[in-house]
Each structure stands twice: as C-alpha cells, then as structure tokens.
Symmetry: C2
C-alpha cells in the first residue's frame, strides 16, 4: 500500500522547500518507497476533520497502511522502524539514533523556530530586533556543542539515519544567518546531508507540487 | 540491572521540581522499576567526558543495562518500549502515543522554553517585556487546539502513556500563567496526571535529592 503524506498546494516563498512534509519525503526517497501526496489548500481554512488527524492543523500527516501518524519526528521514527537503512538495528545504535532524533526536535529546532519568528513573522517589531543578539548567542553556544559532538563523525549515529534527516532539515532553517556557515564541522555535515540524491529528489518534488499562485478557497 | 539516571545535586529554587530527570523518574515509578541517581554538581563545570554522554551537558542521561540514552523524550520512549503500561502495543495505539510524545516535545514545549526565557532568565530585559503578549497569544492558540484534542479523553493515546508524562510535565511549566488554568479541559487533564501516586513519588524524590545550599566545586 502506498504511503500517503499531507502537504500544501502553495506556501509563501520563504517557506518553499522548508515545509515539513520534506522530512518524510526524504525518508521515503532514501528507501525507494513510493508515496503519494494529499495536498491541502494553504489559503483556505483547514477542513474541520483535519484537526482530528493533526491537532495543530499542520502538515505532515502520514498514512501507512492502517497506521496514521502526525508530527514529523514520529513519522521519521516510524519510517526508520520499517528499514534498517534509516535506523540501526543494534540496541545501542538504535538508542543513539533516537536520542539524536529527539535532540534535533527538542534541543535544536526550538531556537530555529524563534529565529524564524524574529527574522520573518515579527521582523518589523521592536522586541524582535532587541531579541536578536541574545538568541543568536544562545543558538551559537548550542551549535558549538553540536559541532563538538559531530566532529570526526560522518553521521550522528554511525550510519546515516532518520536523526540526520531531522538534524539537517533543522540546521537548514538557519540558512539566513552564519550560525552554520561559520562552523566548518556543521557546514560540512549539512552539505554532506543535502548532497544526498534522496534529499535532492525530495526537495524537487516538494517544489514541483506548489502551484504558482495561492488558490482561493 | 538497576537503571541509572543523571540529575543535579542542587538547582536554584525556580527549577526545583522541574529538572527533567523528573520525567524518567516518573516513568520508573509508574512501572515500579528501581533506579539510582547519579547526581552531578550543578555549580561546578560539567566533567569534560559528560559531554560524550550528553552533548549539551544537561540531564538526564539514562543507563539501562548496556544501553545509554540522552534526551528525556528518547528515554521515555525507551521506558515505554520496556512495558506496555507506558506504551500501547497495538500498532495504532503505539503510533498515536509516539505522535503525541513528539507533539509535547516539538509543538508545545518550545513555547514553554521561551516563556521561561521571558519570565525568568531575561525578565528584566526590554525585549522580554515587549515579547510577552504575542508569546502568550501564540501559546494560547496552540493550547486551545490541545484542549480540543483532549476534550472527552482521559489520556492522549487511550490509556496512560509516556506521552502523558511528557505533556503533563510540559504543561506544568506554564504554572505561573493562566495558560492552563484558564482552560478547564487542560487544567483537569493536568490535575489528573499530577495526582498519580507515581508522579508524587517522583517529585518528592527529586526534591529530596537537592542539597540545601549550592555545593562549591
């Protein structure tokens, strides 16, 4: 049965290539798993019953046979459990990969959310201008530690895993700053991840699914 | 083999009862699993080799036999996999619980982090005062949706699970605001979770482990 992933039919330019259905798309591309998209209108109100599938009204939701999941972290874990190419099968390798998967979602991405807030959504607000230095400083300290952890490794948990899909897509959110580019270990890690043909295919597929203009309800 | 959890020997008052070793303690208490604490000095520099166990120098790290994990979300998942009382065994129940586990960590806790920043760490800074209304507004909107999702349910994934340990400890971080108390469904859910004897035991155990004064290096 083909995996179904929800996405949007259009998003503003700043979000193109960054919507989180990119993560399960990438995982499916790594595994050669076919998937089909269920595209929601980004500009119409979400259908009321979609909130039963995804409590925040966001994407992605994934259906895999009889199983339905939301939150891209849970979906990545599910896809990793399907195939050892995305999640080591030895107990410590699995534990390390899952530790890093949560690290990407809970210890690195939250500061990227706030970076998005100050750089995009609240860019013209006084608090956002005042907040910028301390946020960049805090994020930089965290990324220094991430750099220390990655130094000398190719991937977070030995072989490439869902943790790398998560961490690379999170680090990519800092592209408008020098947070990653100024840290050679992280810049190399991110470049290595994004050079994977599966990422390139996933990115091209997301971009190809957006209509040129927002669709009215 | 007894599970080992890292914690701190002292923290400032605002953090007492909120340090994240509370989450695996709670899970162990639910299962009746004995655990021992490895307490780190909160005031001394972290031993350099601790960063090999926990990249950010934080707690908890858990050792369970030969397996070592970091990030409390990964640890909760591991403990859930040990025992169906904390993670349903039917495939959809498991998928739902893991979706909510990631939801707590990635879709609710990040705004609680920022609430901690504006309320505690940066309370005297101008940006924090200016940021407060929009952050409370955004968090409130998210919690409205959480309330809709929980309404009519006892727990997030049918039976009590690690997702509830995560979500309740996250919601508890908003205690100095009316974000939870003004939403009856969430207030009841949180009260139901925190009334569990296992939570009470875990909380008492964390508080009992703090020394009265910070310990010099």
């Amino acid at each position: 049965m083909t995996i179904e992933i929800t996405g949007f039919d259009w998003v503003p330019d700043f979000a193109k290539g960054f919507v989180r259905d990119l993560r399960p798309r990438w995982a499916c591309e790594e595994l050669g798993l076919p998937y089909r998209m269920r595209l929601l209108s980004a500009t119409s109100p979400r259908p009321a019953d979609y909130f039963d599938e995804q409590p925040w009204g966001q994407v992605p939701v994934v259906r895999d046979g009889d199983i339905e999941l939301f939150e891209s972290g849970a979906i990545l874990l599910h896809l990793g459990e399907r195939d050892e190419r995305l999640l080591p099968r030895d107990p410590q390798g699995r534990a390390t990969a899952i530790s890093w998967l949560f690290a990407a979602y809970n210890s690195v991405e939250p500061m990227m959310f706030e970076l998005g807030n100050i750089s995009i959504f609240a860019a013209d607000q006084e608090w956002a201008k005042l907040r910028r230095p301390s946020l960049l400083d805090f994020a930089g300290g965290r990324l220094d530690k991430l750099s220390d952890a990655i130094e000398g490794r190719e991937w977070l948990a030995g072989s490439f895993s869902v943790a790398d899909i998560a961490m690379a897509t999170v680090l990519r959110l800092a592209q408008d700053t020098d947070l990653v580019s100024s840290r050679p270990v992280l810049a190399d890690y991110l470049a290595r991840a994004l050079a994977r043909p599966a990422f390139q295919r996933a990115l091209a597929a997301q971009l190809a699914d957006f209509k040129p203009e927002p669709q009215a309800a």
